[in-house]
Amino acid sequence: VEFWLPILTLSSSLVPGILIFLLGEEHSRARTVLNLAGAVLKVLFVVLIVLGFERGVEYEARSAFMPGLDLVLRVDPISLLFLALSAALWLTTTVYAIGYLEGSPNRSRFFGFFSLCVTSTVGIALAGNLITFFLFYEMLTITTYPLVVHRETARSHAAGRTYLLYTLAGGIVLLLGIVWVHALAGPVEFASGGVLGEVAETHRDALVGIFALLVVGLGVKAALVPLHGWLPVAMVAPAPVSALLHAVAVVKAGAYGIVRVVYDLYGLELAHSLGVLTPLALLASVTIVYGSIRALSENELKRRLAYSTVSQLSYIVLGTAIFGPVATTGGLVHLVHQGIMKITLFFCAGNFAETLNVHHVHELRGIGQRMPLSTAAFTIAAFGMMGVPPLAGFISKWHLGLGGLETGQSWVLLVMVASSLLNAAYFLPPIAMAWFREPSEAWEPPPGRLETRWTLLAPPLVTAAMVLGAGVFGGWGLSPLGLADTIVDAMYGR
C-alpha cells in the first residue's frame, strides 16, 4: 500500500495555495510559477498513480480524525476517473486564468482560493469514506465563495449570498444524513457493492430516509431541480471560475457524491431493492428536460450555458439511477465527458467576452470570421453536448439510451431524444449565427497574429481536442470509456 502519492497529489495544490496567500499581491511572476508548477506536478502525480494502479499498487493514506473515525484518502477506479479529470482541467484552467486575469486586482486572493478549491476537489475525488468526503465538500463550499464574489460588484455579492445559502443548507442536510448513517452503521468506508447490507435487514425505512437526506444534500451542488437556483446566478463569477465550477469543482462534486452514495455506500442492488432508484431517475429526467427548456430562452450566453449544465449534470445522476451495466457506464463516463465539454464552452464564452465584449447570443453574429479557432472549439463542444458522433457526448448518450432499453425503461430513450433535440435547439442557432451570418459591424482587428492571447486560446483548443479524443479513442483502456467499463465489469461481476 502506497501512502505518499495521494498526500502529494493533494499537497500539490494545497501548498501553492497557502504560499500564494503569504506571497502578497505584487509578486505576480512567483505566483505564476507556483501555480503552474503545482498544476504540472499534480498531473504528474496523477499519471504516476494511474500507472501504479495499472500494475496493481494500492494507494491509501489514513489518519485518525476522531476516536474510531479515520480520514481516508484512497484510490479506486471511480476516484481515478474524477482525479484525472480534475488534474487535467486544473492545468488548462490555470493557464487560462493567468491570461484572463492579467493585470486585474486581487489576484493573490483569487489564485490562493483557486488552489484551495482544486485541493478540495481532489480531496473529494480521493475520499475513502463519508466523513472525509464531507470535510472536503464543505471546504469546497467555503473556498469557492471568494471566487464567486471575486468581482466585488453588488451583483456578484448577491450571487455569493445565494450560493452560500444553498450550499451551506445543502451541507447541513448532508451532515444530518451522514450522522444518521454513522449512528446506525458505525464508521463505514466506501466499498464497491455497498456497505450497508447488514443494516438494511433491520432498518429499511431509516435507510430510505437517509438516502433522501444524502441526495438532497448532494443535489444542491449537483443542481437537481428544484435545488438548482444558485447555479445560473453564480455565473457572474469570472470565466475561469465558471469554467471550473461547471466542469469539475462544485457541481461535479455533487454528482460524484451521488455516484459514491449509490455505488459504494448503498450498493446498486440494495438501492434498487429499497426502491429509491426510480424516484431518483425521475428527478434526474425532470431536471434534464427542465434545464434544456430554460436554456432555450436565455439570451445571455453564460446563462444559457449554466442551464445547460443543470440539464447535462443530471445525465450522470440518471445513469447512476438505472440498474443496468450499460447505463452505469453511461453515467460514469459522462462524469468526465460533461466536464471537458462544458469547460470548453465556458472558455470560449470567456474568450468572446474578454476579446470582443460579446456576452449575448445575438451578438455572436459572424464571430467565426474574427475568432475562428475559439468558434471551432465552441462548435465541437456544443456538437458533443448534442450527442453528435463520434464526439464524447455521443458515447454518453448512446450508453444511457441503450441502458434504458436494456432494463426495460424505454422512457429513458425518450428523455435522451427530447433532450438532444432541445440541445440542438439552443446550441445550433448560436453556432449557425457565428459561422454563417455577417457581423452587424466590423470586428475590431486582432491584437497580434492570434485571434486573442495564447493563454486564452490554447486551453479551449486542448479541451476541444479531448472532446474529440474521448470519442474517437473510446476503445482505449485508459480512455474515460475504458475506465468506466473496468469499473462496471467489477461492479456487475462480469
Binding site: 480524525f65 476522531m66 470535510l135 464543505e138 471546504m139 455579492h157 451532515l175 444530518l176 449512528a183 458505525g186
Partner: protein, 503 residues
Amino acid sequence: VTATVPWIVLVPLLGACVAVGFRRLGPALGVASGVAVLAAAAALTRQVFVEGVVRHAVGGWGAPLGIELRADGVGASMVLMTALTAPAITVYAIAYYRDPGGAAKGWRPGPAFWPLWLFLQAALYAVFLSADVFNLYVALEVLTLSAVGLIVLSPELRALSAAMRYLLAAFLGSLGYLFGVALLYAAFGTLDIALLGERLTPGAPAAAALALVTLGLMLKTALFPLHFWLPDAHGNAPAPASAILSALVIKASFYMIVRLWVEVFPAVVSFPAGQMAGGLGALAILWGSLQAIRQHRLKLLVAYSTVSQVGYLFLLLPLAAVPVGGADAAGHAWQRDAWAGGLYHGLSHAFAKASMFMAAGTVMHVLGHDRMEDLLGLARRLPVTVFAFGLSGLTIIGVPPSGGFVAKWLLLRAAVESGQWWWVIVILAGGLLSAGYLFIVLGQALTPPLALTAEPAGPMPAHHTMEWASMALALLALLLGLRAVEALALIEVGTPIAAGPGP
C-alpha cells in the same frame, strides 16, 4: 512532579500581588507568568495522560480539612485551554495598551489591567482545579470581581453601566450558588465534591440546592434568558477584556455546572431537568444568532454570537448528564460522546471567540469604530485580521476540520443515537444562522469602499502584533479539529460518565 499543580494557581497569584506593588512590571509579569503556567500546564497534561487523575493536598492537608486540588482529563484540558489562550491575549494587550488608538486615543487606562488580569487567571485555574464546592465559590468570586474591573478600564460611559449590570447579575448568581452550597453543607455535612456525591440523597434539600446552584451559575454563564447582561458587558469592554470574558470567564461557571451535575447531583437530576436546561440552550442558540444577525456593531455581533454559542454547551446536560431509561446505571456510549462534545465545544469556542474579539478590537483600534456599515474594504486594510476572523468563524459555524465541527459531530451523534431528535434540528439550524451573521461581516469586509478614504500616515507597528495574536488563536481552533484524537483522549481521562456498551 505533583508539586507543579499548585504553581499553576500560585504563579499568576504572586504575579498579581507583585504587579499591584510594582506597576511598571505589569507586562513583564504577564508574559513571565504566561510562559511559566503554560509549561506547568503542559507538565500537568502529560502527568494526567500518564498517571490518570492527579490530586494534590496543598500544604499536605487532605480533605476534608485542607485545600485539595484535583485535575482529571476535563480539568487538565480546561487548564491547558486557558494557558494557551492567556499568552496570546497578554501579547495582544501589551500592544493594545501601548497605543490605545481610535476612540480611546489619549486614554491611559493605568497599569491596573495587569494585576486584574493576573488575579483573573489565578481564579480561573483555581476553579478548574478545585475539589470542593466552597473553594469553587471563593475562586468564582475573585474571578467575577476582576472581570468587572477589566470592563471598567474603558474610557466609555456605556462600559461603566454595562459593568454595573454585570456586577449585579454576577452578585445575584453568586448568592444563589452560595445558598445552594449552604443547603448542601447543612444537609450532608461536607463541602468536598467527591464526598458530597457519595452522601447526597434525593429529597427536598438536594433538589433545592440543585435548583439554586444551577440557576446561579446559569446567570453567570449568561444562558438565555439570563443573558441580558452579556452583550453590553462583552460588547463594550476594552478588546482584551472582551476576549477574556467571552472566551474564558463564562467557561468557569459552565465548568462548575457540569461538574456538579455529574459528580454531586446525579441522584437528583432527572430527565425533565436535563430537557429544561437543554431547552434553554436551544433557545439561546436560536435567539443569540438571530440577534447577532440584526446587530449594527461588530463587537455586539460577536457578543451575541457568544450568547448563541453558550447554548451549545448546555446541550451537554440533557445528552450526557442525565440518567436515561430509569435505573440504567451502565449509561450509553452516546452519553460519553455528548460529554466530550459539549466540553470540546467549550475548548474550541474559547480559542475562536478570543480570536474574534481580538480581531474586532483590532478593527476598532485602527478605524476608531466598529460600525458594520462602515467596514467596507476592511479586507484590503487588515487582511490578516479578516482572515483570522474568517478562520475562527469556521469553528463557530462548525465547518470541518475545525474544533467546532468535532464538537458538533459528537453532539449530533449523541442526539441521533439517543433519539432526541429535537436537538439535531437546533444544532443544524444554529450552524446555518451563525454562517449567516459571519458572512454578513465577511461580505462587508470584502466589498470595496465607495470612496477611498485616506490611508493613515505611516505604519502602526502595534497592529501587526495584534493581528497575528488573533491569527494564532484562530489557528489553534483549527488545530483542535486536526488533533481531535489526542484532545479527546485527554478529556476521557477519569471521566465521570459511566462506561457504557458500544454503539
